[in-house]
């Protein structure tokens, strides 16, 4: 096959010249090695990848990247190796060697060249090797990490020369880490191994811990696999240093997880704190308001994807007010249509709202289908912030904590500072008196129920980011919400905040010891006992509505 070295406009890859100096490898050889990728077994493909990297021809890189992303195909029939890009009808395909555009094909007209985890790691490491000298700092960081993960023995000289040239301290640290790990994994030299272990002790990271621990692994008979006692001692030192750091980090991580769970509970419960806590309505359909909020998010996202695909990262910002309005309106409808006839009859309210929740669930199931709907995480909510080894804070959780606090603060302002809030508190504390002062209590009731439902809908937006968007979404939260409100003290928003956070923290500190199932049971029992002692919860509110 003729080989043209055309520059590929759609892909820019930069290489380390010092590493890959062999300038002109026979083209036929490259073509042969590429053809090796189609090989029947994964071992054959792996061997082809290794030959490609050893050949050092930069033109192999786009092919390897396509292989990694699952975009490398063979056409049916003539079995030409092509790279595919998604298009409306299937794939736009390009010849893997020459980059020549070959038009569009349907998805079933080409078959993918398969890759598995082992190969993926090999390719990532190899690509890392080819990009260690990239001018792009992020690319160098990625390359150093890729080498750290795959630890190929023949990379040691390349790492050493890259280290000499490196000026950026962050990249240098990663390169040192990669070098030490690669030396530890491949070298038999005692001094090199000890030096590598000492270097690794500087990094507080579970993966490094794993490397050091691997030195201390014993075989079936209990004999150490590492023959040298000094190396073992160095590994133990390293382990000890890392473990101290990890223990502290895991404590911090536990607190974060507790606060995060607490903020989810707070979001789910805060709407209920208004409908149940302030108005005294046992609202079993509260969970369904959360669910409807999540489905509103789904609809908004679909509209964005269809109409403004470039702005779909911001769909959530629109979904928040949309969910509030939709569920708020439904809430007002429920209050006017059902609940206002049932004030003062808690049992009937309970049954009516329970029935409503079933109706809403089945309605959603009929309209949207019983299967889960996919709500994507926007890019600013994906991934995690690696604060330190063993302490990774996921962005979606961070944003949910922020969102929960924001909602709480806004609600406090609304209730404390606005005239509507004043009326609401007046109606709660003494309905006949408020009514005789000229407050339209019926209107206040409807608005309050709408507010509680609207906030539940906003919680649904947040929950769509971490949980299933399915008709059952709400059911999972209704019990927890009631628990939080009752524990915190009915009718008191601060109580809900403290209740939610403390339940979240206690749960997360219990879970590692007791397991998720037992932790839940334990908390339930603890709350039952607590309510025996303090029937009004943590913060009891005095008001006429509650006296009766």
């Amino acid at each position: 096959m003729p080989f043209k070295s055309t520059a590929r406009g759609w892909r820019l890859v930069i290489f380390l010249a010092g590493l890959l100096l062999l300038p002109s490898v026979a083209m036929a050889e490259l073509a042969d090695d590429l053809q090796g990728l189609r090989g029947g077994s994964y071992d054959a493909k792996g061997a082809a990848v290794e030959r490609l990297v050893a050949g050092g021809d930069e033109r192999a890189v786009p092919v390897l990247e396509a292989f990694l992303d699952g975009r490398l195909f063979l056409t049916d029939g003539e079995e030409r190796m092509v790279i595919g890009e998604d298009s409306a009808g299937g794939y736009r395909i390009f010849d893997a060697l020459s980059g020549e555009a070959l038009g569009e094909v349907g998805k079933r007209d080409v078959s993918k060249i398969k890759i598995n985890n082992k190969l993926r790691q090999l390719v990532k490491g190899s690509l890392g090797a080819l990009t260690l000298g990239s001018k792009d700092r992020a690319a160098r960081l990625r390359a150093a990490d890729a080498v750290f993960r795959s630890k190929p023995a023949d990379m040691i000289p390349a790492l050493e020369s890259a280290l000499e040239k490196e000026s950026d301290p962050a990249v240098e640290a990663r390169l040192r880490r990669a070098l030490a790990a690669t030396q530890l994994a491949n070298s038999d030299n005692k001094a090199t191994r000890i030096a590598a272990l000492q270097e690794l002790a500087k990094f507080t990271d579970p993966q490094i811990r794993s490397l050091a621990a691997a030195v201390l692994v014993t075989d079936g008979a209990g004999n150490p696999t590492e023959p040298d006692a000094e190396v073992r001692a160095a590994a133990e030192e390293t382990l000890k240093a890392i473990e101290q750091g990890l223990a502290f980090n895991s404590f911090l991580a536990n607190i974060f997880q507790g606060v995060s769970l607490g903020s989810v509970l707070l979001l789910a419960a805060i709407g209920l704190a208004i409908t149940f806590g302030v108005m005294g309505v046992i609202n079993m359909a509260h969970g369904e308001m959360v669910m409807l909020g999540a489905y509103t998010t789904f609809l908004v996202q679909e509209v964005f994807r269809a109409s403004f695909p470039t702005a779909s990262d911001y769909a959530l910002l629109v979904a928040v007010p949309a969910a509030f309005l939709v569920t708020g309106a439904i809430g007002v409808g429920i209050e006017r249509g059902v609940i206002r006839f049932l004030y003062g009859r808690p049992l009937e309210t309970l049954l009516a709202t329970w029935g409503l929740s079933l109706v809403l669930q089945q309605a959603v199931r009929t309209i949207f289908g019983p299967t889960n709907r996919e709500v994507g995480n926007p890019s600013w909510m994906s991934g995690a912030w690696e604060v330190a080894g063993g302490l990774t804070l996921t962005y979606n959780r961070i944003w949910i904590i922020v969102f929960a606090m924001l909602v709480f603060a806004l609600l406090m302002v609304l209730i404390r500072r606005s005239s509507y809030g004043l009326q609401m508190r007046a109606v709660t504390q003494n309905r006949p008196m408020a009514s005789s002062m000229g407050i339209r209590t019926g209107w206040v009731d409807a608005m309050t129920f709408g507010l509680g439902s609207g906030i539940a809908g906003m919680a649904g937006v947040a929950l769509s980011q971490i949980d299933n968007v399915s008709p059952n979404l709400g059911q999972g939260y209704i019990i927890d919400s009631f628990m939080v409100v009752v524990f915190g003290g009915v009718g008191n928003l601060w109580g809900t905040l403290v209740g939610a956070l403390s339940l979240g923290l206690v749960n997360k500190f219990l879970e590692p010891y007791a397991g998720a199932v037992l932790a839940k049971i334990f908390i339930l029992v603890a709350i039952i006992l607590f309510i025996q002692k303090r029937p009004r919860g943590l913060f009891a509110l005095r008001g006429r509505a509650l006296e009766s």
Partner: protein, 427 residues
């Protein structure tokens, strides 16, 4: 609703037929019961299987029905409520007089209907992978037994291609299927020389949504110097938040692969699978498998359901195979009478959707190929390993000492379902 109504109509016709003898034989229909949850937690998975059975019935009728009669589906909704499954099963057999039932998903629902089918001598086709350790003459298990899914998957993880795992985290939902499967896996791993300290077991409630601690624990467990893999028997809705947390905490499949036994194309449809590429699933069928019979099935499904985006999955294939086998057995026996159909079932062959041939064995389990696949960024699962030949399903696990002795063989009259020595049994 329509089929319910028609069901009632045909029940009346059937009663008339009984009364009037063979005069109204032509009006008679063959009735197929469908016992899948259409509401509640399991609706997400089970309603698809209801549609699959309806599609098969439709297809059969277009080809002229069975024994010259039309086939009719009677659909009931047990609403993810386990005791209700038993009531609905009784209703199907006693009141609707169905000839066969396709149904159940969770093991707990199957355990709940089992006594009803045995008492009334009904026939149930159960289409989902399960924990084994059960053998009933009234149930045909068309999903995978542990030796057709769990054991090969763990062997793959321990092997060179799977990364050579030496430490295992067994995550599961807290009920009978995960606990039994993990009991078998632990025995298997111990037999392979993996000590108990290299195995971590963790159970979570149905619908668990906060996976932060558990995923962090897995990371810590994996940092002890040995290659670690996760075996997940997490069921239903809890999978979505679990995989989201995995993706966000950056657990890469190359470092800690997660192999799942209850996650198929349908469950992945609610997820952005970009961060999950490379995590594994073990089944007997993947939608991505390239075979002509599979393409035909997918086209048929899309045409029936009227939505090009709907996916197919393993329990659908199991329903497909079960239905075809039952139809063949009825054709061969010349009647829908349960005892005759049961005898005719043994040795029935139906082409697998992945190529090859599924065979019904006398232990009421199928011979099927085992596939291990990796999740792709388009939500499909791509086969990376498969058995060379079909594997015979094993009702009683060889790795649990007290079960290893038991055999399941329902060839009458010398039968043995749950015993060591066959007994002479008349119908």
């Amino acid at each position: 609703m329509k089929s319910l109504f028609r069901g009632a109509m045909s029940a009346a016709a059937f009663a008339a037929a009984l009364a009037g003898g063979s005069a109204v034989q032509a009006a008679e229909v063959i009735k197929v019961g469908v016992l899948h949850s259409l509401s509640g937690t399991m609706a997400i998975s089970e309603s698809t299987l209801k549609d699959t059975v309806l599609m098969m019935v439709d297809d059969l009728n277009k080809k002229g029905g069975l024994l010259g009669k039309q086939v009719e589906a009677v659909v009931v909704d047990p609403a993810s409520d386990w005791p209700l499954f038993a009531e609905k099963a009784r209703e199907l057999i006693e009141k609707e007089k169905v000839d066969v039932v396709f149904g159940c998903w969770t093991s707990v629902s199957r355990k709940s209907v089992l006594p009803v089918f045995e008492e009334l001598n009904g026939l149930l086709f159960y289409p989902v992978q399960y924990e084994g350790e059960e053998s009933s003459r009234n149930v045909f298990y068309t999903g995978a037994a542990p030796n057709q899914q769990a054991i090969p998957a763990v062997e793959y993880l321990m092997g060179d291609d799977g990364g050579g795992a030496e430490r295992f985290v067994l995550l599961g939902t807290d009920y009978v299927y995960p606990r039994t499967t993990n009991k078998i896996l632990r025995a298997f791993l111990n037999a392979k020389g993996v000590s108990d300290e290299d195995i971590m077991e963790n159970y979570t409630p149905f619908g668990h949504s906060d996976w932060q601690t558990i995923v962090a624990d897995v990371k810590t467990f994996a940092s002890q110097g040995k290659k670690t893999a996760v075996v997940s028997t997490i069921n239903g809705d809890a999978n979505v938040p679990f995989y989201k947390e995995l993706g966000n905490q950056g657990i890469k499949a190359e470092e800690i692969p997660v192999v799942a036994f209850s996650v198929g194309e349908e469950e992945l449809a609610g997820l952005d699978t970009g961060p999950l590429v490379g995590h594994l699933a073990a089944w007997n069928y993947f939608m991505s498998v390239e075979a002509d019979v599979n393409d035909t099935f997918i086209e048929q499904w899309h045409a029936f359901i009227g939505d090009e985006k709907r996916v197919t999955n393993d329990p659908m294939e199991a329903t497909y195979i079960g239905f075809k086998m039952w139809a063949q057995a009825v054709e061969q026996a010349g009647t829908t009478e349960v005892n005759a159909v049961r005898q005719a079932m043994y040795g029935q062959k139906v082409p697998n959707l992945t190529g090859g041939m599924a065979v019904m064995n006398t232990n009421h389990h199928l011979s099927k190929p085992v596939l291990i696949g990796e999740i792709q960024d388009d939500g499909m699962i791509e086969t990376v390993w498969s058995t060379d030949a079909e594997v015979v399903g094993d009702a009683w696990s060889d790795f649990i000492p007290e079960s290893a002795k038991l055999t399941a063989d329902w060839t009458y009259p010398w039968v043995c379902g749950n015993c060591e020595e066959p007994k002479y049994v008349k119908y």
